[in-house]
């Protein structure tokens, strides 16, 4: 028997940790955050075990059923995303404990705010992965966004405040547009539940407009080109753990929500032209993000534009799913693996960049010369993460890329395949540019005397980062396990092969 509160755990526990983090005195924070994040991650295991034993699970917290109450639903894709959030949560948590060393009074106060904001983000993201109705998506996305604003602010500089302002404005507007869309759909169908909406799939003006508005709203949060501008700005000044969360988690979640809305049923309302338009925007994002990443002089900005590019990859899925693909299950799992592996790898990359920044005091590539010899660990993490970002085997990102290119070739959209490959080329170019800069010897020998000591908590920062980076490679060794989990209750028809 599954306890009726099982699915609320992944949401409730991080919220409780957020409250605790607000009230605990500072010296205890580090220890409790570490334990708290582990606990929150461990709550996933009973959920997954229940999933494997009983199939998709649907629960009504508090006993309130639809349409008044919020229902939580766990199926295969949700489970994988919960694991993803848990990995990122533990990784970022342990990393941040080492990163936010006690400093001046002002900085400590701001850093202190990181913990509750981050736990709230985690809770909201878990809630999004477990949600089943359109309105809950609105509420949780607003939570994520507002927490995100707070996280961007932690840096405290005017640049960070400006970035936070821009992000706040954009998410407010996006949220309102989304809400209008939800209202229209509700009015047309009398229903908010994604599964029940499957009975109302005839096109109609209100429904179509509603889906359009919901899509538009989510596109900003997903930082799809050309609405990605808030992303590089937000990353520029933000501390590394914040960047990891923004690029790794927030953006991915928005995409996952959009695909959840579309593929649970409402997507049939969308015409082929819209699928292709999303694919076109995704392609533009891939190329734009890649080209701009090549021009940046700061490491974190390169990674930020890399996120813009990788988000473009994800949106190509829309252009590939409306036709007869050779293996829709594999295409779907390819997209999921791309999303998850990118989140993990980007998180690890930002963490490595954070270590470099802490040690060298800057993230300007021209000033980071020779950093590879002083921080081999950080460069190693960056290298492992790059394997995934470039889509090279043996990484999950490669698996995703393979299946997407395969679908593109099969459906006759060779152009999309070429764009995917070009994206890989561009990512190779801008990532190796970083490695070359890190390896270059310093120009003058006198700078040797100005060497700063390594930050004391460097190992504590690098271990979680390496964990996340390896998490993008290791699943390749037992790919059948995530494939099997994905197939449970998946919205896409499954082929017979494992």
């Amino acid at each position: 028997m599954i306890p009726p509160w099982l699915l609320t755990l992944p949401v409730a526990l991080p919220l409780a940790c957020a409250l605790l983090a607000l009230t605990l005195p500072a010296p205890w924070t580090g220890r409790w955050v570490r334990m708290g994040s582990l606990l929150c991650a461990l709550t996933i295991f009973p959920c997954i075990r229940a999933l494997l034993q009983h199939g998709p699970i649907r629960q009504n917290p508090g006993g309130w059923g639809a349409p008044l109450g919020i229902q939580l639903y766990l199926d295969g894709p949700s489970a994988l995303f919960l694991i993803f959030a848990a990995l990122l949560g533990v990784g970022v948590g342990w990393y941040a404990v080492a990163y936010f060393t006690p400093g001046k009074a002002g900085t400590r106060a701001r850093q202190f705010l990181f913990w509750p904001l981050w736990f709230v983000t985690w809770a909201a993201v878990n809630s999004l992965f477990l949600t089943l109705d359109l309105f809950n998506i609105y509420v949780s996305m607003e939570l994520v966004s507002i927490a995100g604003v707070g996280l961007i602010l932690i840096a405290g500089s005017s640049g960070a405040t400006r970035a936070a302002l821009q992000y706040q404005m954009q998410t407010l507007v996006a949220g309102l547009i989304y809400l209008l869309g939800v209202g229209l759909v509700y009015n047309a169908t009398g229903n908010l539940d994604l599964h029940l909406l499957r009975d109302y799939l005839e096109p109609g003006p209100l429904k179509n407009a509603g889906l359009a508005l919901m899509t538009a709203g989510l596109l900003i949060k997903a930082a799809l080109f050309p609405m990605h501008f808030w992303l590089p700005k937000a990353h520029a000044d933000a501390p590394a753990p914040v960047s990891a969360i923004l690029s790794g988690l927030v953006v991915t979640t928005a995409f996952v929500m959009l695909s959840k809305i579309w593929f649970s049923g409402l997507g049939v309302l969308a015409p082929v032209s819209l699928h292709l338009a999303l694919g076109a925007l995704g392609s533009a994002g891939i190329l734009w993000g890649g080209i701009l990443a090549l021009q940046q002089r700061r490491l974190k900005r390169i990674l930020a534009y890399s996120t813009v590019s990788q988000v473009g990859y994800l949106f190509l899925v829309f252009a590939l799913t409306f036709q007869d693909t050779p293996d829709p299950a594999r295409l779907w799992s390819g997209a999921v693996y791309l999303a998850i592996s990118h989140g993990l790898a980007k998180g690890a990359a930002f963490m490595a960049a954070g270590v470099l920044q802490k040690h060298e005091g800057t993230d300007q590539l021209s000033l980071l010369r020779g950093a590879a010899l002083r921080n081999p660990g950080a460069v190693a993490v960056l290298a492992v993460a790059s394997i995934n970002l470039m889509g090279l085997p043996p990484s999950l990102g490669f698996v995703g890329k393979w299946w997407m290119i395969k679908s593109a070739i099969y459906t006759g959209q060779g152009g999309l395949a070429v764009i995917l490959l070009l994206g890989g080329l561009l990512s190779g170019a801008y990532l190796f540019r970083v490695f070359e800069a890190l390896l270059r010897p310093k120009e003058t020998e006198s700078s040797v005397t100005e060497e700063r000591p390594a930050p004391p908590s460097r190992l504590g920062m690098l271990l979680p980062a390496m964990l996340l980076a390896l998490a993008t490679l290791l699943p390749v060794l037992f790919l059948s396990v995530p494939n099997r989990i994905l197939s449970i209750g998946s919205p896409v028809p499954q082929a017979s092969t494992p």
Partner: protein, 98 residues
Amino acid sequence: MTDSTVVYALAGIWIAMLGLRSLLVNRDHFKRIVAANLLGSGVFLTLVALAGRGEGAADPIPHGMILTGIVVAVSGTGLFLALLGRLRELESSEEEET
């Protein structure tokens, strides 16, 4: 669907579009947050009007959605204004330094 709800719904859409236009045209932060609130009001009005469709009492669920939306919009506006104030502070202190 009675006439008044149609009028209100269309009015709501119109107000929302006004807000959106103001958002795009203005660059001053303060004007933009007002425009965003205008957009919000338009959206809420539309939803309320649509909720009033049909016979009998108005549907409470969209009301619930709107209330949540109002809360989010108000707190978002408050956050925005606080950020604006902070930005002004930071910028003036930076000017003093240079």
